[in-house]
Structures are given as structure tokens and as C-alpha cells.
């Protein structure tokens, strides 16, 4: 598979993951999918896609930090 279709599918996978991450209240599932998203972001990075530096902060900005 060439680079462009790989990138399309990876971006699509990230979008699907995000739906579940936003909706689940199961910490295990949320954590597993955040790790999966990290690896998908890493795949994008290593295919030379101009993605962000720290995807994990994107989630936090939207969803709040660890409780004090």
C-alpha cells in the first residue's frame, strides 16, 4: 500500500478512536484507546505527515487535567 492511502486510513482510525475515547466511561478502554491513538499518531509522524507534536495534550486541553 502506498503512503497516501495508508495516511488516509490511519487518520480515519484516529477519528473512530476519538469517538469512543470521548464517549466511554471505562478507564481501561479509555487508556487502551489513548495508547492506540498515540501509536497511530506515531505512524503518521513516521510517514512524514505534518501532525502535531504532542497529541496527548490535545485531549487534556479539551477534557481537563488530573483532579488535584
Amino acid at each position: 500500500m502506498d503512503r497516501e492511502p495508508m495516511l488516509e486510513r490511519i487518520a480515519g482510525a484516529r477519528a473512530l478512536l476519538r469517538e469512543v475515547i470521548e464517549a466511554t466511561d471505562l478507564p481501561l478502554i479509555e487508556r487502551a484507546l489513548l495508547l492506540a491513538d498515540m501509536n497511530l499518531h506515531w505512524a503518521q509522524w513516521n510517514l512524514g505527515a505534518p501532525v502535531s507534536l504532542m497529541p496527548e495534550t490535545e485531549y487534556t486541553a479539551e477534557r481537563g487535567r488530573n483532579p488535584e
Binding site: 506515531w42 509522524w45 513516521n46 510517514l47 512524514g48 504532542m54 496527548e56 487535567r65
Partner: protein, 457 residues
């Protein structure tokens, strides 16, 4: 029976052909994009970088070319961080993430004897580990290989990062933590790993220990040896020959700085290392002129990491002198350092994987009552291991019956501060050579063929 998810394409010599053979123009365009992201991240989130970049009058939007970056973004040295970390432990205001993002903490030697503390996020550790996958794959290691780590886990990042790499590769890991040298040999005989991970001098030492117990290390299961922490088989051809003959294996190495990244895996040609350009941006600076060194010329390796986002390092002075090339016969387009690191811009050496700065030893000696400021650091190699002896002079009038006690105090203080045991010899007052301040006091008595190129003069 569970099927282990090994990779389909294991014949390719590339871990990621797309990136490893990316044309230079495309690599540089990506670097420019990513450097701007790093600058923005550091400025927005680290008080230290806000101050530094405001003082320099430069921000991410001002960086339109890589030349802008090299010339306008100020250089960074390790000491700047150490001071801030000491004022406000653990990290001062160098941190660029909220503390609850820090997933792993390591430390590395500082120039004055105080360690630099290094935080990593979880994702930082994954990126850090990935560089090792290139190194392993290029040498011929595959996920079915089994790794034996001949060291104990501690605060130093080097072999932690190799462990992260083995996890990413999907291989098997055996920890040799807590074993002495004979124990390592017994474990290797029982577990039959195919890859030995250690410092290069320790691999030679282990081979000698094996032979003394009647075991030929070349007859064991090890097919590859992998090294970091010291000049290794791609820096010193004599060392490569010794390791490969001793173990009947192929030897590779990783050039890394704990606080930065495992930044350059060894080339399959074993003539040097390639900068991992997915994980950092590197350029060479002539220390005499401050200008960019020409291709093939010796310059200081200046690094900006994409891998440590907890504590960004931007235009960071490594003090490593390298000869950088844009071409390599292996076909990879990543910058190539022929001979790895050729020397240092400062007075630092590495003993059993620990960086020892002349200034750090000097500071420690300066704090001990009874010790004068006359000293030498003598490097030798014994049974394959590098040893350093601190020759110090007591102050005039120090009673001879207290020499032994003083030597022990020096040894203990150095060990506490630098996490390495150095031998200590006291010379009679007035007998050591007198040096000008700030001159090199490291006397290298090791055979020339085991020293870095610039250390052989």
C-alpha cells in the same frame, strides 16, 4: 497456542524505508515544520524557554528557514538547566508539561558533579525507544531474537531506552539485573539469548571472565552485541574486532545523550552512525568560529530533540565533535557521522558507561579538607575495562598517617556524587605537575587503538 504477531516483511534491510531514504529536501522541510512546533511548545509551556527566547528576541513565527533556526535560536548548555533544577527541585522551570505528564525520571552526569534530572512523558519514552529499532534492524536483529541486558536498572536512561526499543520491536528481553560477571555468563548459557546488550568495555570484560571459567564466549548463543554509553565498535575499529572475535558476533552501537534521545544508530557498514532524523534535528557547528561546519569537517553536534517534550532541548550543545556527511554507501539519507564521535570540546571522558567531567572531579576535590588543587586523572585499560585513577596531592603539612583516610574520603565523595568508583592515589605534596587553570588534566594511558580519533594525538 497463541500466535506471536511477528512482522510480515522481515527481509527488508529498512525498518522504515520511506523515512530512511527520504530526499534531503523533504527531510529538511519536515524539520522546519517540526522545529517550529518544538519552539512553540517550549515557549508556551516552559518559563525557562519563554525567558530565553524573549531575551534573544526570537519566536517560532520568526523561523522561516533552517538557517534562521541555526543562527537565531540561542544555543543551550546543560549547566543552564542544572542550576535551575538545584534552585527548585526537581526540574525548576525547565519542564514544559504539567508534572502529572512525567511518566519516567532519569538522571545523567553534570559537568560540576551535580546530576541533570531528566523527565520523560510516556510518549517520549516510546519515541526514544523507536530509535533502537532502527539500530537493531539494521544490524540484522529481528523480533524473534532474544536480548540479554548485562546491567542493572538504575537512574541512567541509556539501557532503559534500549529496553523501550526491545518492547517496540516485539522481541524477548532477559534482564541480567543483580548478576555479577560470572552470573551473567551462567545466565547466557542457560537462557541462550542471541543479542547481548552492554557497554562495549563490559562486553570485552565478560568475554575475559568467560574464558577464565573455561567457556569460549564465541561458542555461546550470542549472534549480535549491542552497545552504548562509551565509544563503541563503530567508533573504534580495534574494539569492533576484539568484540566480534571474542563473541563470534556482529557488533553495533547507539550514540545517545540521555537528556536528548538515542540519537544515532549504527550504520550497517559499521563505519559510523546515522542521525535518527525522525527524532531530532542535528547540525554541526565549528566551535572556533560559531559557523556551520562544512560537510566532512569536524564540528560540534548541536541537537534539537523531538523526543523529549517534557523538557525540550533546543539547539543543545552536546560537546561531541563529529564529521558529518550527507551521503552513505548504505543508501540511507540520514546524516552520517563517520567514526561516530571523534572527540570532545570539553574535558569529559566515560568510565564504565558513566560520564566523568574533569570539572566535576575538580569541584569535589575542592570541597574536601586537606586536598590541594593539584591533581591528575589517569586513564588506563585493564582486563578490557577502562579505569580512572585520581592522583591527588594533600595540602602541605597534611600528616602522612592520615593519607589513607583522605584517599578513602575522596573515593567515597566521588562515588556519591558521580555514581562511579574511581581509584584514588595520593601523591606526596609538591610532586604532581603544575598546570595552568582550565587545562586538560586527563592523562590517557590506554592503547591508542582503543581511543577516539581526536584523543590519539
Amino acid at each position: 497456542m497463541a500466535i506471536r504477531p511477528f512482522l510480515r516483511n522481515q527481509e527488508t534491510p529498512f525498518w522504515n524505508r520511506y523515512y530512511e531514504t527520504m530526499p534531503r529536501e523533504q527531510l529538511d522541510a519536515l524539520h522546519l515544520h517540526r522545529l517550529r512546533l518544538v519552539l512553540r511548545h517550549a515557549y508556551d509551556n516552559s518559563a525557562f524557554y519563554r525567558r530565553k527566547l524573549d531575551r534573544a528576541g526570537v519566536h517560532s513565527d520568526d523561523i522561516r528557514t533552517l538557517d534562521d533556526f541555526k543562527r537565531r535560536v540561542p544555543l543551550l548548555d546543560k549547566d543552564e538547566f542544572i542550576l535551575l533544577q538545584e534552585e527548585r527541585p526537581p526540574y525548576g522551570d525547565t519542564l514544559a508539561v504539567p508534572p502529572d505528564y512525567v511518566a519516567h525520571h532519569c538522571e545523567t552526569s553534570g559537568t560540576t558533579g551535580i546530576s541533570l534530572r531528566i523527565p520523560y512523558t510516556g510518549y517520549d519514552t516510546e519515541r526514544y525507544g523507536e530509535a533502537w529499532c532502527y539500530a537493531f534492524w539494521w544490524l540484522g536483529v529481528r523480533p524473534r531474537d532474544t536480548f540479554y541486558f548485562a546491567f542493572s536498572w538504575g537512574l541512567f536512561a541509556g539501557f532503559w531506552s534500549a529496553y523501550w526499543g526491545v518492547r517496540r520491536l516485539g522481541a524477548t528481553l532477559y534482564s541480567g539485573g543483580g548478576q555479577n560477571s560470572e552470573g551473567h555468563i551462567r545466565m547466557i548459557q542457560k537462557l541462550r539469548p542471541t543479542v547481548l546488550v552492554s557497554t562495549p568495555t563490559y562486553a570485552l570484560h565478560l568475554a575475559e571472565v568467560a574464558r577464565k571459567t573455561g567457556v569460549d564466549p564465541a561458542s555461546l548463543s550470542v549472534k549480535f552485541t549491542f552497545h552504548a554509553g562509551e565509544p563503541g565498535p563503530c567508533a573504534i575499529p580495534a574494539m569492533r574486532r576484539q568484540i566480534e572475535e571474542a563473541w563470534g558476533a556482529r557488533a553495533g552501537e547507539m550514540l545517545g545523550l540521555a537528556e536528548v534521545h538515542a540519537l544515532a544508530p549504527s550504520c550497517p557498514t559499521q563505519q559510523g552512525v546515522h542521525v535518527d532524523e525522525t527524532g531530532c534535528f542535528s547540525w554541526s557547528r565549528d566551535p572556533a568560529t560559531g559557523e556551520e561546519a562544512p560537510e566532512g569537517g569536524v564540528g560540534e553536534n548541536i541537537i534539537t530533540t523531538y523526543v523529549n517534550n517534557a523538557q525540550p532541548l533546543i539547539n543543545y550543545q552536546t560537546h561531541d565533535l563529529v564529521a558529518r556527511y550527507n551521503q552513505c554507501e548504505c543508501g540511507r539519507t540520514w546524516a552520517f557521522f563517520k567514526g561516530v564521535v571523534l572527540g570532545r570540546t570539553d574535558f569529559m571522558t566515560t568510565i564504565r558507561g558513566t560520564n566523568v567531567y574533569q570539572a566535576a572531579v575538580e569541584n569535589i576535590l575542592g570541597q574536601i579538607e586537606g586536598v590541594s588543587h593539584h591533581y591528575q586523572l589517569v586513564l588506563t585499560r585493564v582486563s578490557g575495562l577502562d579505569r580512572m585513577c585520581v592522583r591527588a596531592e594533600p595540602v602541605p603539612g597534611w600528616p602522612a598517617e592520615r593519607f589513607l583516610e583522605l584517599a578513602r574520603i575522596i573515593e567515597e565523595r566521588i562515588h556519591q556524587a558521580l555514581q562511579v568508583r574511581l581509584e584514588v592515589e595520593l601523591a606526596a605534596p609538591g610532586t604532581l605537575p603544575r598546570y595552568e587553570l582550565k587545562t586538560r588534566r586527563i592523562i590517557d594511558q590506554r592503547p591508542k587503538e582503543v581511543r577516539r580519533i581526536l584523543d590519539r594525538v
